[in-house]
């Protein structure tokens, strides 16, 4: 199984340099949505890497599907996590802020 990377061409170029073959350029929202939907169904993808700010551009339903998915596991990187952040989740579930 492999890692897939979705994002604008600047984002994916570095990952190509690290040897990742499954890189998909997606510059506009529509394309991003299509690519992510297709990758979610691809059984050869183990991890889907997406930029946090791109994650925020996805429709809410798809974003929730991404957050809950185990195969592939989705990682949002960058300063913005996209969707509900881990801190918010912890506060919601535990009632205290443990993410310090």
């Amino acid at each position: 199984m492999e890692i897939a990377v979705v994002g604008n061409s600047e984002f994916i170029i570095g990952f190509q340099l690290a040897g990742i073959q499954m890189t998909y350029p997606a510059d506009d929202d529509e394309k991003l949505k299509d690519v992510v939907t297709k990758l979610l169904e691809n059984e050869n993808v183990a991890i889907l890497v997406i930029k946090g700010s791109d994650m925020q551009r996805l429709p809410p339903r798809l974003r929730i599907a991404l957050e809950e998915s185990v195969t592939p596991t989705v990682v949002a990187i960058g300063a913005e996590e996209g969707g509900i952040t881990m801190r918010e989740r912890i506060i919601k579930a535990m009632g205290v802020d443990l993410w310090k």
Binding site: I13, Q16, L17, A18, Q21, I47
Partner: protein
């Protein structure tokens, strides 16, 4: 269950008692599950925090490097080098079960490569490209670690939340209501018994 829906009969009381017993058993089991999940959560919390921080650091560095490489080599140069890399890291994704929560278990192979394995010519490119590639390999490594940890955390948190909700619903809503209904039936039955007694006494007095 509203009290008006309850039929004050003995069989209903027996049924209610059974239900209360079952709910209490479920409540105890769910409470244990919640505590177990929280323990499990605390186990991964510290690691997850560390790994997230590390990943962000590597992310910043990697993108700094790629910007530098773009400046030194030009966008085309970087792209050409990137296209030459053929070895891709392979992963093995399994599922692990923590108390009914399915979490990913990822094993990775061959993320880091030597210079020769990368595929682009050493002579044609500068060392900035090498450093960028190394930075990205490190980032990919961190991402793989983080992927497993974060999904585990997210799923655990969701499960903790819903288990908590169930425990509270049983403790503060279901069980008290059932108990109230049981008390109501008991009172009604006693009342009916007293009614009957009085009636009997009256009939006896009339006949005498």
């Amino acid at each position: 269950m509203a009290l008006t829906d309850v039929k004050p009969t003995r069989s209903e009381l027996i049924n209610l008692k059974k239900k209360i017993k079952l709910s209490e058993r479920g409540y105890n089991i769910l409470k244990m599950k919640r505590d177990g999940l929280i323990l499990e959560f605390f186990k991964v919390l510290e690691d997850a925090k560390e790994i997230r921080g590390e990943m962000l650091e590597k992310y910043d560095r990697a993108f700094e490097m790629v910007a530098l490489a773009n400046t030194v080599e030009g966008a085309i140069g970087v792209k050409a080098a990137a296209m030459a890399v053929k070895e891709s890291p392979t992963l093995d994704l399994k599922k692990k079960n923590i108390m009914g929560v399915v979490v990913p278990d990822i094993e990775s192979q061959a993320v880091r490569k030597t210079l020769a394995e990368r595929g682009y010519g050493v002579l044609g490119t500068t060392s900035v490209i090498d450093e960028t590639a190394t930075a990205f390999e490190e980032l990919v490594d961190a991402i793989i670690n983080a992927a497993q940890m974060e999904t585990t955390m997210k799923r655990l948190l969701d499960e903790i939340e819903s288990t908590k909700r169930r425990v509270n619903a049983l403790e503060f809503k279901v069980i008290p209501e059932l108990k109230e209904a049981g008390d109501f039936i008991k009172m009604r039955l006693d009342e009916m018994e007293r009614d009957e007694l009085v009636r009997l006494k009256k009939i006896k007095a009339k006949n005498a």
